[in-house]
């Protein structure tokens, strides 16, 4: 079954075609190669999935990539259950978004570029999930980062866009820094960085410790945490979350594909992939869970007050990613991946819908929207579904996955578990609140924009609508393959992934599970109702609240001032050091001072001193000779 190779390399081919021919030859047909390619890989992915279901997993090397001394790594692929799921998500959601983009990007002067980047992104994303060693993972990891850099900064004339792209790349570099160190540690420990040997041997290193600055630390903890740094960067968890909101400067399909469905979930994928390592370290797991939990609440709270439609969704994404990490953190990797999978549907849908709204309105500000329901019904419905699903309203995809996480958190019966469980519940409250706040502000009430804008309001073209519908189906029914046993489902998803991520042993009764489910559901509904009250019935309240607790509002509105914090603690000092200290002082003054100073002083010595000795007066010359004679003799007399 070599055909799996087609999955990544079809998009790559598409990229090459587009980048070479796109500008002159294809022009506005540039979407063909890309779309065909990704649909092709989707098909192949499905076939692969079935192979996997039939128990045919792949782990083979293509060729040796780097070999140096005892370090050897090859370009090779691993296709198992986890990979298969990711493949489906990436290619499936990906192809829909591709199609959507045809309409959305229509007429943009960078049309071919856009599709080229998309294909490249898909290629790297697939490499990321298909690699059978950490270096390929790293390759994909950096690759998707690069593509997101391109796509965020797609409209590079806009300073904001360019900045956002750069920011995304550099912030990610911080994560990757840890990630790379993790890989080094893995190599130092295991002598290889291929998954298979590492994960098999990992057990024997469980209790090994290393000395960091005099402190004995568990080796696995160190490795796990270093790897997690990468995940934090890529999946925009605190404290490296700052790039994701800004990333919304990119075209909406990009936000949907990269910053909702696929790339940002790479972190989750990685943690799930490395579960053997994480499982060995209490501390690491705890950190993962806590970071995830805090991020989810933190982001959700911000989402409640944002006005940029895309940013709202972005923060929601942050919060959901947080949930996924919580799942991983409590050992329920399956749950995490499951949420990843459902999240891909409803979040992509939210974005695309938002996209079609923006397409119609021409800006992102929810405060200047409203009453769009009648202008663009389909968009409205699909988005509504997505919101419900995201809000965890029972029956929809989001419900099952989120509930799974909440339950796992509770059932892990550790203090951490309890803590994050509480956080989860808060999240469960926020999510429907901000989702519907957005829905209501956008579609209900009467239009708050200018008349000029109002004239242009219209439903988006078919090519954009159809993907929306398809995704809506996913958001609605996507979760049904993972219905937990307690609801009479088979939890197929979890079982399917078991060979890879194992199965956490939770001891909890069905009763408890029902209770938890009920609790979270009620909380969600409360959130929903609150949203209804605030933004449908008593629209005055939010403003009033905003006035009441100005401070909180300000803090939330300014995203807890994290960006400013970084700006003043990291960015500015570095630049200041660079400009004032290094350029201005060490190089210019000290080093150059010495380098130029020595010749200068010699020159001065020569010109002002030694030259003056040569007076041109004969008797002085004679005196010098006499002096020479005298001093030589005197020296001899003294030194004998």
């Amino acid at each position: 079954m070599e055909y799996y190779l087609l999955i990544p390399f079809l998009p790559l081919a598409a990229f090459c075609i587009n980048i070479l021919l796109g500008k002159e030859v294809l022009r506005n047909k540039a979407h063909w190669p890309s779309c065909l390619a990704i649909i092709g890989s989707f098909v192949v992915a499905v076939m692969t999935l079935f192979d996997v279901i039939n128990g045919k997993t792949v782990n083979e090397d293509l060729y040796t990539w780097i070999i140096s001394g005892n370090f050897k790594v090859s370009v090779g692929f691993l296709i198992d259950q986890l990979t298969a799921v990711m493949l489906i998500v990436v290619t499936g959601v990906g192809s829909l978004i591709h199609i959507y983009s045809i309409g959305y990007m229509h007429g943009d002067k960078g049309y071919y570029r856009f599709f080229a980047y998309l294909s490249l992104f898909v290629f790297f994303m697939l490499m990321l999930v298909m690699g059978n060693n950490f270096l390929i993972l790293y390759l994909g990891w950096e690759g998707v980062g690069l593509c997101s850099y391109f796509l965020i900064g797609f409209w590079y004339e806009k300073k904001a866009a360019a900045d956002a792209g750069k920011k995304a790349f550099i912030v990610n570099r911080f994560g990757d820094f840890g990630f790379a160190l993790g890989i080094f540690m893995i190599f130092l420990t295991f002598g290889t960085i291929h998954y298979a040997p590492v994960f098999t041997e990992v057990g024997s290193y469980a209790s090994q410790t290393i000395n960091i600055l005099g402190v004995e630390v568990n080796l696995m903890t160190v490795i796990a945490l270093l790897l997690f740094c990468g995940a934090v960067g890529k999946s925009a968890q605190m404290p490296l979350h700052v790039w994701l909101p800004d990333a919304m400067e990119g075209p909406t399909p990009v936000s949907a594909l990269i910053h909702a469905a696929t790339m940002v979930t790479a972190g989750v994928f990685m943690v799930a992939r490395c579960n053997p390592i994480f499982n060995l370290s209490e501390v690491a797991m705890m950190v993962v869970a806590v970071v995830g939990g805090i991020t989810s609440v933190f982001a959700a709270s911000i989402a409640c007050v944002q006005n940029d439609i895309k940013r709202i969704i972005a923060y929601s994404t942050l919060s959901h990613l947080g949930m996924m990490f919580v799942a991983c953190g409590v050992g329920a990797y399956a749950a995490g991946v499951f949420h990843l999978y459902t999240h891909a549907f409803f979040k992509a849908l939210l974005f695309l819908a938002a996209g079609s709204v923006i397409h119609a309105v021409g800006h992102n500000d929810v405060q200047r929207m409203g009453g769009l329901k009648k202008y663009m019904p389909i968009t409205f419905i699909t988005m509504f579904v997505a919101a419900l699903s995201a809000g965890g309203i029972p029956g929809l995809a989001g419900f099952f996955s989120k509930d799974e996480i909440v339950w796992s958190a509770f059932a892990s019966h550790s203090h951490v578990g309890m803590f994050v469980w509480v956080l989860m519940l808060m999240g469960a409250f926020f999510t429907p609140f901000y989702s519907f706040r957005m829905i209501f502000l956008t579609f209900y009430g009467k239009f708050r924009g200018t008349h000029h804008e109002e004239h242009h309001l219209h439903e988006s073209p078919k090519v954009m609508i159809i993907p929306l519908m398809l995704l809506a189906v996913g958001a609605l029914a996507g979760g049904w393959i993972g219905i937990p046993s307690v609801l009479g489902g088979g939890a197929h998803f979890a079982h399917f992934l078991e060979p890879v991520v194992g199965h956490p042993e939770f001891h909890g009764t069905h009763a408890q599970e029902f209770a938890i489910m009920g609790l979270s559901t009620t909380i969600a509904t409360i959130g929903l109702i609150l949203a209804i009250i605030f933004y449908l019935k008593k629209t005055g309240i939010p403003i009033m609240l905003a006035q009441k607790c100005k401070l909180i509002y300000k803090i939330l509105f300014n995203k807890y001032y994290v960006d400013e914090l970084y700006n003043y603690t990291i960015v500015k000092p570095t630049l200041w050091i660079a400009r004032s200290i290094l350029v201005g002082f060490t190089d210019a003054k000290i080093i150059e001072g010495i380098v130029n100073g020595i010749p200068k002083s010699i020159g001065w010595f020569s010109d002002k001193l030694l030259r003056k000795v040569q007076t041109g007066l004969l008797h002085h010359y004679g005196m010098f000779m006499a002096a020479g004679v005298f001093f030589i003799i005197a020296l001899v007399l003294l030194l004998r």
């Binding site: 003056k612 040569q614 004969l618 008797h619 004679g622």
Partner: protein, 100 residues
């Protein structure tokens, strides 16, 4: 019998007097005369040595020294004359066209 060291002392004395003259006089000709003085000092020591060592070399050398001194005088004075033609001075401290 006069000890040899007296002669050495004498020649040294005259030699240094010559040195002094060479170093301190302004007049080129006198400077040159001081050099002649030094040569004579050398000659004295040479002759005295050759007398005390009962060996003729010293006197031979002294003889050559006198010859060379004559030659030097000729050349030197010619140079001074040539200088005079262009620049009527015989004072070293006025001759410093080239310096540094």
């Amino acid at each position: 019998m006069v000890p040899l060291n007296w002669y050495i002392l004498l020649s040294a004395a005259i030699f240094t007097v010559g040195v002094f003259g060479f170093l301190s006089r302004r007049n080129i000709i006198i400077m040159f005369m001081s050099i002649e003085l030094m040569l004579n000092a050398v000659n004295i020591s040479l002759v005295s040595f050759s007398h005390y060592l009962q060996d003729m070399r010293g006197q031979i050398l002294a003889f050559f020294v006198i010859a060379v001194a004559a030659a030097e005088a000729a050349i030197g004075l010619a140079i001074i004359v040539a200088l005079f033609r262009n620049k009527a001075t015989a004072h070293v401290d006025e001759i410093h066209e080239m310096k540094g």
